[in-house]
Structures are given as structure tokens and as C-alpha cells.
Amino acid sequence: MQFVIELSKYLMLIIVGAFTYHSVRASVNKNVNTHMKSHIWLIVFLFMFHFTGYFIMYLQIQSSRLLWLYVAEALVFILIIILHRFIYPGKSRLLLINMMMFLSIGYIILTRLSFDKAVRQFIISAASLGIGVFIPVLIQRFKCIRKYGWVYGISGIAFLVLVLLIGTESYGATSWLTVFGLFTFQPTEFVKLLYVLCIASLFRNRNDFRIVCAVTAVAAVTVLALVFQKDLGGALIFFVTYIFMLYASTEKPLYLLFGLAGGSAASWIAYTLFDHVKVRVLAWRNPFGYIDKEGYQISQSLFAIGTGGWFGMGLFQGLPTTIPVVDSDFIFSAIAEEFGGFFSLCLILLYINCFLILINVSLKTNDRFYSLLSMGFSVLFIFQVFLSVGGVIKFIPSTGVTLPLISSGGSSIVATVIMFMIIQGVHDENSMEKPNKIGVIIGGEEHD
């Protein structure tokens, strides 16, 4: 049996490697025919990966619950692929399959960490995928969503203020709302959507200095509300997203430079003002010096990654549960420990590739609102990945953000799936026949 477990470990690495290869090829290649071929391979690899993961786990803990969960997840995948194929034949299948790959990696590692959390994750993500089927059509039917920029901005801020007033604290950040005592959710995740919608809407047909000031004010209030919630990661993500959307809208590098310089200055001020920021930086600079308290989490994370090495310990062979909050903010360490360093690098590549696919949608559309919207979402997405992965490997101080589509976390999953589906809606129906812009640019050829 050990034989099969070990062999499957390498098999999973090979599958993810092959998936990454085909995914990257499909996203940068201009030839539409290779896309179709790649898509089929990607679907095959997705299901192989998902199967192998559950197979290894079943070998080790023979529980019929695992089988049920596996079958349910596989059925949802099949159903969603078929639905999208019939309803949206022209939409980006690459985006959809990549999203499912992230979900399936999340399903497997969460099942390994905590079966209950995995079931919860599955139910929430299946529901979001179900709702998500309608989003692209809504986006295209209701063009008027572009007009309510102020509404989005102000309701977003209102949400955050509400959280500040009646929110509950968890892991040092006051960012949770309890609804009727029934369930808790993190409004920040949904405010992300409103926020990008707001900025894209307000910048959609003007970018003069006055509107820049007005939107900056909205963004600043939103970011400040997050700072008051002590949600450092959230504040950073919102801030960076705004700076890049501002740059995309005005196309003035000076705004980007000023924005980043201002951001650095603000970070320094936050560092000197707030103790919880100091603690994070302290734990980052010398985790082992404060291993008993401040540096405990990051030390455990580094132990996990280091012990996992390049090939990983194998599912159920490591000790990822020694890392606090491993199922959400620190899930990348669990993946690195049990799947290994090569797998983790593939996963990072997949995220970059997904970013390219998303941003390509922004490039292909001629509608400025859609273009800004998908640009904003792309930056939001990739920067969150950067904070999450960078934090757990000690590349940057840990800011406590989830890894999109993989970490356990209801609100985060729902928001990210909706975000992907909005971009799917923005995705130009006819773009399959058009050359791939990212491919053209990366290939060094002039477009138009």
C-alpha cells in the first residue's frame, strides 16, 4: 500500500505539471486550434488530479464519507462544465477549468486537514458555482450596472462601517458580521466586488483630475475603514487595486509612482502607530527569535515547507495541523508540506497564468467599463495571492489573507467565484476567433 501512496504522490506532481504546461500554453498561444486540444487535456488532468487525491486519502483512511464527497464534487464539476458549454459556448473555458483546478486542490487539502471544513467548502462553492452560472448572462443583459458607481462605493463603505460598529473579532481583526445569530460572514469579501465596480464605473468615461480626486476619496475612506478593522491584508489589497486601476484609467505612470510612494509612507506610519503591525513585522524579521508567541505561526509554516522539501511528505504524511489557521491563511504551507516544493511552484505558476487569462479579457474587450472592471479584478486577485503566499513563506510580513479559491472561507469563495463569473460575462463572445492579445504582446508582435 505504501507503494501506491508514494507512487501517487509523484503522479499528482506530474499531473499538475502537465496541467500547468497546457494551461500556460493555451493562455499564451495564438492558435485557436491548440486551445481546443489543450482544453480537453486540461479537463482530463483536472479529473485525474481530483481522483488521485481522493484515492490516496481513501487508501489511508477508509471512510465512506470520503467517497461520497468525492462523487459529489466530481458531479458538480461535470455539471458546471456541461452547463457552461451549453449556455455559454463562446466563453473562456480556460478560465472556468483553471478555477475548478484551484477548487479541486482546495477540496483535497481541506479534506486532508478537516473533513467538516471540506464539506462546508464544497457546499458553499457548489452553491456559488450554481449561482455563478447566471452571472455572465446578467452582466450582458443589464448594461446599466455601469451607472451606479456612487451607489457601489457608498454602500461598500456603509457595510464596512456597520462591521466596525457591530462586527465580531476573530484573529485580531474585527471583520466578521453575524446575521441573526445564524451565520457569520466577512463583508470585506463582498465589498471587494462593490469597490472594483465603483471605481470602474466612475472612471468609465472620464479621468480628469476632479474625478480622480473624488474616486481617491472613496477609496481612501474604504481603506481607512479596513485599517480601523485591523484588517491589514484587506487594506493593502484595496489600496493596491485602486492604485493600479487609477493607473490603468489615466495611463499616467506618475500616478502609479505617487501611489506606491504614498502607500509605502502610509505603511511606515502604520508600523510606527499600531502595535499589531509591529508584531507582524517582528515575526517576519526574526520568527525563530519569538518562536513561542509572535513568531510561532510563521516558524511552524517554515518547518512545514522545509520538511516537505521538493517532493513533499505525501497526503497525511506530514504535520500541517501544527500550523495555526492552516486551513485558511496558511493553507499554502500545508500544500507545500504534503505536495512539495515543485508542486507549490506549479501552483504559483497557475495563479500567474490565471492572472494572464483574466487580464487578457480586459485587453480584448473594447468596452472601457468592462476593461477597467476586469483589470481591477485581475489585480485584486493576483495581489491577494501574492500577500497570501508571500506571507507564509516569509517573503513579506504575514498579513493574514486567504489564498483565493483554495483556502477554507465561505465569503471568500463566494466572492471569488462571483468575480470570476463577472469576468466571464465581460469576456467577449467572439473573442475566440480573435488573436490572443497577451500572446501577441508576449510574442513581441504589434497588434492592430
Binding site: R206, N207, I305, G306, R368, M375, F386, I393
Partner: protein
């Protein structure tokens, strides 16, 4: 050019008009639209392209480059961490994953420098893995143990022993078919001949012996007694942890035992004196066997009066009165900073668990009396045998103190060297000239002083005896030294607890170790 702008303007105007007509007639929206048009008219050239156009390709590309660049850096860091940093990180005793690794790898061997197996993992008839220590209690402290709390080399190199370098394809194959890979072997700097000599010479006495190669800092022998047999640690645990008469067999006295240095400290005192007094060669003192100072009396050993002595003679014969007289002229501040430059009051620069030695004289706190006692190694000064060996080695090595180390290299099972430790300088604690002078007076101890027993040896040895007096008990016997004087190969530090004078009890042990080395 101007045409272009005009055309662009026209287009964008048209688009805007169309847009605003199509737009719902909500007032605020229209206002902003008007602003927009006005604004644009005002600053024609400020915008290169039409506003309703999608985000420009070049802008998007620059954003892509920024993020891809960030991620490349991050992936680079991740790779660097796994390649270069992770080994040091995961060796931490806080890492609970060591036991997980132990299930996949057969723990490697620990060897002496001359190829003897000091620790290995064997499989018994029932297939259980047992950690075996062929020399029993001889290497217990320095090699350490794995059960009941890892210690010694077993602890410091735990991850190394549990990692398998070898052929990675074969390792992968072994993983797959479920065969444990052999862990790396650790080759120590320990010399089995010297260790045995030191172990035998200490006999049943409590104490420790440390031998160091002065040029490199290699630890050639490290023995502490009483010891324990790590093979039987589980059976003997109860007995070992009961503290009978300060036996503390688990304690590595060599690196953790703190003792008053006795007269061996006169090496430091002499150095402090010659630094402050360039005319030290002219020093002369008339020893009457005792010295009085404000009601305190310091005596020479057996009240013996040494008569007229210069510094070298006072050192050779370990004249307490002369050295406490010297102390009156030494500044406490300089004495303390000199001691601290010799690693008193801070951890030793060694990858061996050690207790820091302490030098308690302090400006404002200590008076002349305490300085006088400190100068002859009584007072409140405490030192470990390892530290004292390092001081002797620094003198032997021309004033350069090397970091002591006990692990020479790590080898794969195939004998390929995976990691070698190279000698490192801890500090240049004195000038070559100062070292030469200290060498000459330490040589004097052998030729004309308290260690004359070593004079009959074939090699020319140098050293200093010490007798650290204990209230109501026998003194601790000390000897530190090195040989040969001209080109020192070995430095040694010996302590025997509560036994008597250094020349009587520590010196013979040193002699046996020297003999074993130069035979």
C-alpha cells in the same frame, strides 16, 4: 499630428454625446458628463486617446510585467529557501516533524575522526530499530543520545542524520517500494585514542577533560565524569535523574560545568598586567608567604614564601601574594573588558550546548579586595573546562582563538562529503607578541614550576596548574596547557572536582593524554 488630435477629439466627442444621450437622464450623471466634456475641451492635448476606449495595451502590459516580476522574485525566494535555508530552519528542536522523518530514514552513524563508530542504528531480531552506542558511557555527553531528550551531536545534527543524500533516483525508488533510505553519517573531530586515554585517566573521579587542536579549534577529546550509558538510558532514567551527592551524570561538565578557575586564571591576570605595564619585565616582588590588605589575608599555597620573584617566576610557582599585589594596579574596567573579549559573560562561539563563564568584577561594585581575589582565580569568577581549553589554545595559536567544533563533516552512505565544516576564527584575543610572552611563562611552569612533572616528556609542554579552593571541601584540581611549545598541536584543559591540588591530581591526567597523543 494636429489632424489626428482633432479627429480623435471629434470621435470622442461623438462617442460621448451618443453615450450621454443613451444614458438615463439622471441629473447628477449628466452633470458629470458635462464636466467631462468641458474638461476635455479645456485640455485638448492632455489625453492622447479617447476616453471611451478600453485600457491601452501598453499600460496593461506594464501592469502584467510588474506582477509577473513580483511573482518571479517570490518564486526565486521560495526556491532559495528550499535550497539553502530550509535545512538550518528545520533542524530546530521546535520542529515536531523530526519524528515523521525518522519513519522514512534509517538514522545515520556518528563516527570518530579515526573511523570508529560512536553511534549507529541497528535492527534487532524482531525488526525493531535500536540506537546503539558501542563505547557505552565514554562518549555519552559529546555524542549524546536520542531517547529521553536528544542531546549532543545527536541533537545538533538531528536533521542531517535523518536526511538521505545519496542517489535521488534510488531514494525515490526506495520511497515508493517502502524501503527506508540510509541517513547521512556525521564524522566528528573526536580522536578515539585520546578520548580513551582521558576517560581512563579520570578514573572514578568527578571531572572533565577537553582537548583542542589550537590551529583549527577541532575538539579532539571531550570527556565528562560521572557519565551514563546511553544504551540503557530508558532503564536507568530514574536513577540518573535522582540527584545523589551532586553526581549529575547527565550534565556535560566539559561545556556546562562552571568552576572557579583557581590559578589557571593567572594567565588572564598576567595578560592584563603586561598590557597596562610596559615595564613588566622589571617587575619584582618579595613574597613572604602571605599578603594583608585591609584585614584580608591572601596566602600562598602551604604558606610557602617564594622570596624575591619577577613576573615569570611568580607565574611559574603560582605565587598568590605576588599576583594579588599585581591586582592592586590593574584597572577593574580594563580587567573586565579583557575578560569579556575572552568570552566571559557571554555564550561561547561553539555549536555545543554551553554555559557562559562569568567574570563578576565591575566598576563601582567591586573594590580592591575582590580584585585581588579575582586575580588569583578565587573571587566570584566561574569558568567551564571547554572555555579554559580555548584560552590555552588561543595562547598556543599565537593569540587567535578558534571556534571549537566537534563535527568535521557530513558524508553520504557512499562516503561522498556533503558538507564540511571549516575552521573559523572566534577572535584575535591578543597580539602575537603577548601570546609569545604568555607561552614563555607557561613554559616556565613546566621547566621551573608547579608542572615540572611534564619536564620529563619528550615533547616540550607548557601550561598552568590551578587549585581552586572550596569552603569546607577538597579543592578542585585544574590544569591547562599545550604542547609542543614551538608548534602546538594540542591544547588541554583538565578539572578534577574536590580532589586536591592541580599539580597532584590534574597534571597526571594531562600527562597521560599528552602521552597518548605523542606516542
Amino acid at each position: 499630428m494636429t489632424d489626428n488630435i482633432k479627429n480623435g477629439m471629434k470621435d470622442s466627442m461623438k462617442d460621448d454625446m451618443k453615450d450621454s444621450m443613451k444614458d438615463s437622464m439622471k441629473d447628477n450623471m449628466r452633470d458629470s458628463k458635462k464636466d467631462c466634456i468641458k474638461d476635455r475641451n479645456a485640455k485638448k492635448t492632455a489625453y492622447g486617446s479617447s476616453h471611451t476606449k478600453a485600457v491601452g495595451g501598453k499600460t496593461v502590459l506594464s501592469i502584467v510585467y510588474i506582477f509577473v516580476g513580483l511573482f518571479v522574485l517570490m518564486m526565486g525566494y521560495f526556491t532559495y529557501f528550499l535550497l539553502a535555508k530550509s535545512e538550518g530552519v528545520i533542524n530546530s528542536t521546535y520542529n515536531l516533524r523530526h519524528d515523521v522523518l525518522a519513519k522514512r530514514v534509517v538514522r545515520g552513524k556518528i563516527m570518530s575522526a579515526d573511523g570508529k563508530v560512536l553511534a549507529e542504528t541497528i535492527t534487532d531480531d524482531e525488526g525493531n530499530e535500536i540506537r546503539s552506542y558501542p563505547y557505552g558511557d565514554m562518549y555519552a555527553h559529546v555524542v549524546g543520545r536520542v531517547n529521553r531528550g536528544r542531546s549532543g551531536i545527536e541533537e545538533v545534527e538531528n536533521i542531517t542524520l535523518l536526511t538521505s543524500y545519496g542517489n535521488s533516483a534510488k531514494a525515490m525508488y526506495n520511497d515508493i517500494v517502502g524501503i527506508k533510505n540510509p541517513g547521512n553519517n556525521v564524522v566528528s573531530t573526536l580522536n578515539s585514542k585520546l578520548t580513551k586515554a582521558a576517560y581512563d585517566a579520570l578514573g572514578d573521579d568527578r571531572g572533565a577533560v577537553v582537548a583542542i587542536e589550537p590551529k583549527t579549534g577541532k575538539i579532539l577529546a571531550m570527556v565528562s565524569k560521572p557519565s551514563y550509558d546511553p544504551n540503557d538510558i530508558d532503564d536507568d532514567w530514574e536513577m540518573l535523574t535522582e540527584d545523589n551527592n551532586n553526581e549529575s551524570p547527565l550534565l556535560n561538565r566539559a561545556s556546562q560545568g562552571l568552576y572557579p578557575p583557581g590559578s589557571t586564571f593567572k594567565v588572564i591576570t598576567a595578560l592584563a598586567y603586561i598590557r597596562e605595564n610596559p615595564d613588566y619585565m622589571d617587575y619584582s616582588y618579595k613574597c613572604t608567604g602571605s599578603i594583608d590588605y585591609e584585614g584580608m589575608t591572601i596566602k600562598c599555597s602551604n604558606n610557602k614564601s617564594h622570596g624575591n620573584v619577577d613576573l615569570k617566576e611568580a607565574f611559574a610557582r603560582s605565587c598568590n601574594t605576588a599576583f594579588s599585589n599585581i591586582a592592586k594596579d590593574i584597572s577593574i574596567e580594563d580587567f573586565r573588558s579583557l575578560s569579556e573579549s575572552f568570552f566571559f559573560n557571554r555564550p561561547l562561539p561553539a555549536r555545543i550546548v554551553n554555559n557562559p563563564s562569568s567574570f563578576m568584577l565591575a566598576v563601582g561594585e567591586s573594590g580592591v579586595k575582590e580584585t585581588m581575589q579575582t586575580a588569583i582565580g578565587q573571587g566570584r569568577t566561574l569558568i567551564t573546562p571547554l572555555h579554559n581549553a580555548m584560552i590555552a589554545a588561543a595562547v598556543a595559536n599565537g593569540g587567535v582563538m578558534m571556534k571549537p567544533y566537534v563535527i568535521d563533516r557530513v558524508e553520504s552512505t557512499g562516503g561522498r562529503v556533503i558538507k564540511g565544516y571549516i575552521p573559523e576564527e572566534a577572535a584575535a584575543v591578543m597580539t602575537a607578541k603577548e601570546a609569545d610572552y604568555l607561552k614563555s611563562i607557561m613554559r616556565g611552569v613546566v621547566t621551573d614550576g608547579t608542572a615540572s612533572k611534564l619536564n620529563s616528556m619528550n615533547v616540550k609542554a607548557a601550561g598552568k596548574t590551578g587549585t581552586a579552593e572550596q569552603e569546607g571541601k577538597e579543592s578542585h584540581a585544574w590544569f591547562i596547557g599545550f604542547a609542543p611549545v614551538n608548534d602546538p598541536k594540542i591544547a588541554i584543559s583538565v578539572i578534577v572536582e574536590n580532589k586536591g591540588s592541580g599539580s597532584e591530581y590534574a597534571l597526571p591526567i594531562a600527562e597521560k593524554v599528552f602521552d597518548a597523543y605523542f606516542k
